[in-house]
Amino acid sequence: MELAAFWDLILTGLLRGGFYALMALGLALVLGVMNVSHFAHGEFYMVGAYAAYFAHTAFGLNPLLAILMAGLIGFAIGALVEKVVICSLRKRTKEDWVMNTFLLTVGISFVFINSAKLIWGARFRGVAHYWEGTIYLSEGLRISIDRGAGFLIAIAAIALTWFFLNRTQLGRAIRAVAQDEIGAMLVGINLDRMNTLTFALSSLLAGIAGGSLLSINAAYPYMGLRPSNRSWYVVMLVGLGNVGGAIMGGFIVGIVETLSYYFLGAGWQDVASLLILVLILLFKPSGIFGTEVKGVLER
């Protein structure tokens, strides 16, 4: 195999991994902080894609603003869903919380997909490109500007989230809720507010992912299912609720998938990555980095 082809593969894997990392980060936050087994994460990706589509085509916003809009709409709808549905469930649930959140979020997913079908119909709505052209990195190694820009946006969103969680009081408070709810309450943190903020933030990240990939994956009612499954795959691989691990895991899965796609063929990429997951869970059920988050989904 030529060196250029090898780098091409790695690059493709990284570009893909950036989005897996972005999606998985949002899911890991919801798992770690709220202990919600969230199966509607992909639907916020779908919401982001539609938001960016209409912002870009109907309102003529430039791509960056359209993607930002996708994130903000994801945030707003995420906050609304948490306040109206998940928070109400928390107030009423006495036991089986995790199972209840599973059923609830599957229901949310169903409602979102079918609403999209009802409103916009089962047809693809995409843009040919946000930015025209390709970037030449070296001989035989080039990527479209859309992919490059999308990757940079994903990395920037991850970095900003990381900064927010580790360097601000509000971000620390979110982590505090994940680590010790009673401790968090006793220092004066309002749990309800943190849960809403976490879910909205997670939905913002999914919205940005959907928005910035619009020229590659057109908006479509069912488009969120695969990203949702992929992000579950990543968080199971690294350990549920592990936020730092989810970022690493996203890149690992992106590269593994690309390599298996190249060497084994398109039909085998899922087999290869799922086989790795099965093997890891067989020998280390808490995931690669999962030692410290064993409380998630068991509380």
Binding site: A173, R175, D180, I182, L186
Partner: protein, 235 residues
């Protein structure tokens, strides 16, 4: 400053507190003593808002706080240091302390509290970048106390600070509490270690099977026959 009247509390159908009344005035160092399972921790948890009272009244600084959420009560200036400590174990010592001042907006005030706490517990300054989960038992207690002090509280509830500590550390924790009280913080201390507690506190309540059975100045309680026999091991 704190007034508890006829407080009743239960876990499900299991009632633990049967009309507990106590009163702590500003600046006082008060203790709540009693055997295992008497309801001491439940009393503190109910005052702090972690358990909703089943009956009775809790008044803090003239306001009725029974049934309010724990985070609201904490923001009124009441800090509860639990027996389990409830530290954020995967965060550094410094981050734990900063979160203690979560309700404070003023950066200068936070810095001041941080200096105060690190001055009170110099070992925390040495360990400031270490994860809380990697501290020793004594250091954890100090961190929990320090975190509780970061909000500059008016009132401190402390649950069994001596539990699981070496005798030398127990002494230093009690000294720290005394010093805090000397600086104007009102304290309600729950303890099993009766003899030391009675010697450092102003007033004490004895709780048995969910009821207050004795109360008074700690110096008088040391002389009480029941206390002597049951808690001090003197026949």
């Amino acid at each position: 400053m704190l007034e508890v009247n006829n407080l009743e509390a239960a876990y499900g159908h299991l009632q633990v507190l049967w009309g507990v009344s106590l009163k702590v005035s500003e600046g006082e160092f008060t203790s709540l003593l009693g055997p295992n399972g008497a309801g001491k921790t439940t009393t503190l948890r109910t005052i702090a808002g972690l358990i909703k009272p089943k009956g009775g009244e809790v008044k803090f600084m003239g306001e009725s706080i029974g049934g309010r959420r724990a985070d609201q009560i904490s923001r009124m200036g009441l800090s509860f240091i639990t027996e389990e400590l409830n530290l954020f174990t995967r965060m550094s010592v410094r981050e734990n302390l900063l979160l203690g001042a979560y309700g404070t907006r003023d950066k200068k005030k936070i810095e001041k509290s941080l200096d105060f706490v690190l001055d009170l517990f110099p070992v925390l300054a040495e360990r400031r970048n270490q994860l809380a989960g990697t501290l020793s038992g004594g250091e954890r207690k100090m961190l929990a106390l320090g975190r509780g002090l970061m909000s500059d509280p008016k009132f401190l509830l402390v649950d069994e600070p001596s539990l699981g500590l070496a005798p030398k550390l127990v002494l230093s924790v009690f000294k720290a509490l005394q010093e805090l009280n000397g600086r104007g913080v009102t304290i309600l201390l729950v303890e099993q270690n009766a003899s030391t507690t009675l010697h450092i506190t102003d007033r004490s309540y004895i709780l048995e099977r969910g009821r207050i059975v004795l109360e008074g100045a700690s110096a008088d309680l040391v002389e009480d026959e029941h206390v002597k026999k049951t808690y001090l091991g003197i026949e």
